[in-house]
């Protein structure tokens, strides 16, 4: 009896948790006159809002911008974070400890403190309102470096030594021997970096100023203000910006949860 009650309460709580997301999708499928109806199921479902928002063209641009930026930063993070993590884990060289501490210390510095210098830098170098300007601060992260460093600890040194005897150079050993052994960690890091950049708001808001360069969150924020009264359109925009993360989540669910645990306990 207690078990059933516990399950029911947890289930109801879970339904409440996803209710905002469900309502967002439901409203995006309603005609304007039906928006104020609290019914979850639209009486006459329509995809009119989606065609309207997509034909407007801006969401399409923002989507492409966000995808490109999230993909490039993900690749860059996977490459550099694991290269640095590997080097700090597997090499003995003077200065190793200093580099380690220096990178670790950047975790203490909030992004908000850096945005003003980054902005003046971008201005000086002509990076404002460009992909490069949006991406450059996030090309490497200390968090990713430490996550990868932890995982390279589990790669036995014998493997690397054997490869060295076989005549592989250090880059080849890292790329061909060590990297394939930490694939789960790489996948977890890839998901974090991708989602982090997909949903990033403050820096893209600051560095972009033309509508064509906005990312999805920045575009959505302005779009909401512009059509403040057309809630079905805002919900459609919000749904469009959330769909990629929902898809990523449903495909990689187990993986993401394991990754969160790894990052939480090791990071």
């Amino acid at each position: 009896m207690g078990q059933i009650l516990r399950w029911m309460v947890l289930f109801l709580g879970g339904i409440l948790m996803i209710a905002p997301i469900v309502y967002m999708i439901s409203t995006s499928l309603k005609w304007p006159h039906e928006v104020y109806n609290v019914n979850l199921i639209p009486e006459e479902p329509t995809i009119e809002n989606y065609t309207y928002v997509l034909e407007d063209g801006r969401f399409y641009l923002w989507f492409v911008n966000s995808i490109i930026i999230a993909l490039i930063t993900t690749v860059s993070n996977l490459f550099f974070d694991s290269l640095v993590g590997y080097t700090l884990c597997k090499f003995r060289f003077p200065g190793r400890y200093i580099v380690f501490i220096a990178i670790l210390s950047t975790l203490m510095i909030p992004t908000e403190m850096l945005v003003i210098p980054w902005y003046t830098m971008s201005q000086a170098f002509g990076w404002l309102d460009s992909y490069w300007g949006i991406m450059f601060p996030g090309l490497m992260t200390a968090f990713g470096t430490f996550l990868m460093k932890q995982f390279f600890e589990s790669v036995p040194n014998d493997f690397l030594e054997a490869a060295r005897i076989d005549g592989l150079n250090e880059f080849q050993i890292w790329w061909k021997i060590a990297m394939p052994l930490v694939k789960p960690a790489l996948a977890a890091l890839a998901i974090f970096v991708f989602l982090g950049n997909w949903t990033a708001f403050l820096w893209p808001l600051i560095v972009t100023n033309s509508v064509e360069m906005y990312t999805v969150p920045v575009g959505l924020s302005g779009f909401g203000d512009e059509v403040d009264v057309a809630w079905e359109l805002i919900m459609t925009g919000a749904a469009i910006s959330t769909i990629p993360t929902l898809i990523v989540f449903l495909i990689f669910q187990r993986f993401i949860i394991r990754g969160v645990v790894m990052a939480g306990l090791k990071g």
Binding site: I21, V38, I116, M140, T199, W231, L246
Partner: protein, 299 residues
């Protein structure tokens, strides 16, 4: 090339290590350390982004000290922290504790709780903003109206606005905390519980004597992680109050929003930089304090 061949194995390692680190070290120096220094320097200057930078010493900090808006913002920022952290900690623990004991459709239940963590703060801020609208638009007030309860001013009231914005921020982070708590609960050896069962100890004693003490590292992590999140709250506030940034009479404005406005609406870069230094110090002090309190008496 022959010079490289003559090096010892150890020396070759050093060459490779620095070859691998060259670009990243350059990145960290140029994109992280140099800007950190610059932020401190700008905080002692007056600069409107276009004109010359002039040294003003501690003037920006004095201005901050005497700015009533800053103190309002300071209080708000700590209100987010002091309400958000304990509430989200307790809710997520209760969910994780019970979820851990549930086997039937466990993965499905867990998914329901975790899903909001995956959504974008901007999109969800707009969804909640819609929920909070007055009749006939907002969902909450419509629901209240349909059962005859007078409507509530959520975002336009100086007392309700801050909790109304905090709610979706807590909601969005719960899934993460639940997952971390569940991992912590799994890590507690079953033998402890079995021993307690043999001794006939009640569930409350088990919870307070075994579960919670052994969860301490997990609790420390969640408290520090979520406090940093609440102290840096921005996306939710910005998007739920765009028509009146910071809510009625600045009642919801957190420090990061003040920084954003000072720097990129008023272009008072020196003043904004001084605010970022204050944010940095707050984050530093709060996390060190928590680590010290929560880990200090580890027995």
């Amino acid at each position: 090339m022959s010079a490289y061949k003559n090096l010892s194995i150890r020396q070759k390692q050093i060459v490779w290590a620095w070859l691998f680190l060259a670009i990243p070290v350059l990145f960290y120096v140029v994109i992280r350390f140099y800007p950190t220094g610059t932020a401190f320097v700008i905080s002692f200057q007056e600069w409107n982004l276009l004109g010359k930078r002039t040294w003003t010493g501690l003037e920006n900090y004095e201005k901050l000290w005497n700015d009533p808006v800053f103190w309002k913002v300071f209080r708000n920022t700590f209100a987010y922290l002091l309400l958000g952290t304990p509430v989200s900690l307790v809710i997520s623990f209760v969910i994780a504790y019970h979820l851990d004991k549930t086997r039937f459709l466990h993965g499905f239940l867990r998914m329901l709780y975790f899903l909001p963590f995956m959504t974008s703060a901007v999109a969800m801020a707009w969804v909640w903003r819609w929920f909070y609208q007055p009749v006939p638009i907002g969902l909450f007030n419509n629901m209240l109206a349909s059962i005859g309860i007078p409507q509530i001013e959520f975002l336009n009231s100086t007392t309700n606005a801050l909790p109304s914005i905090l709610a979706p921020a807590i909601w969005a982070g719960l899934g993460f905390q639940v997952i971390i708590f569940m991992a912590g609960l799994r890590a507690i050896p079953v033998s402890y519980y079995e021993a307690a069962k043999i001794d006939g100890v009640g569930w409350w004693t088990v919870l307070t004597r075994i579960t919670l003490p052994l969860l301490k590292p997990t609790i420390v992590f969640i408290v520090v992680f979520s406090s940093i999140g609440f102290l840096r709250i921005f996306d939710h506030v910005f998007n739920m109050t765009t028509n009146n940034p910071g809510g009625p009479l600045n009642s919801t404005k957190p420090l990061v929003l003040m920084i954003y406005e000072t720097a990129f609406s008023s272009f008072d870069m020196g003043y904004a930089a001084a605010q970022t230094v204050v944010l940095f110090l707050i984050l530093l002090v709060v996390s060190l304090l928590q680590l010290w309190i929560l880990q200090g008496d580890n027995t």
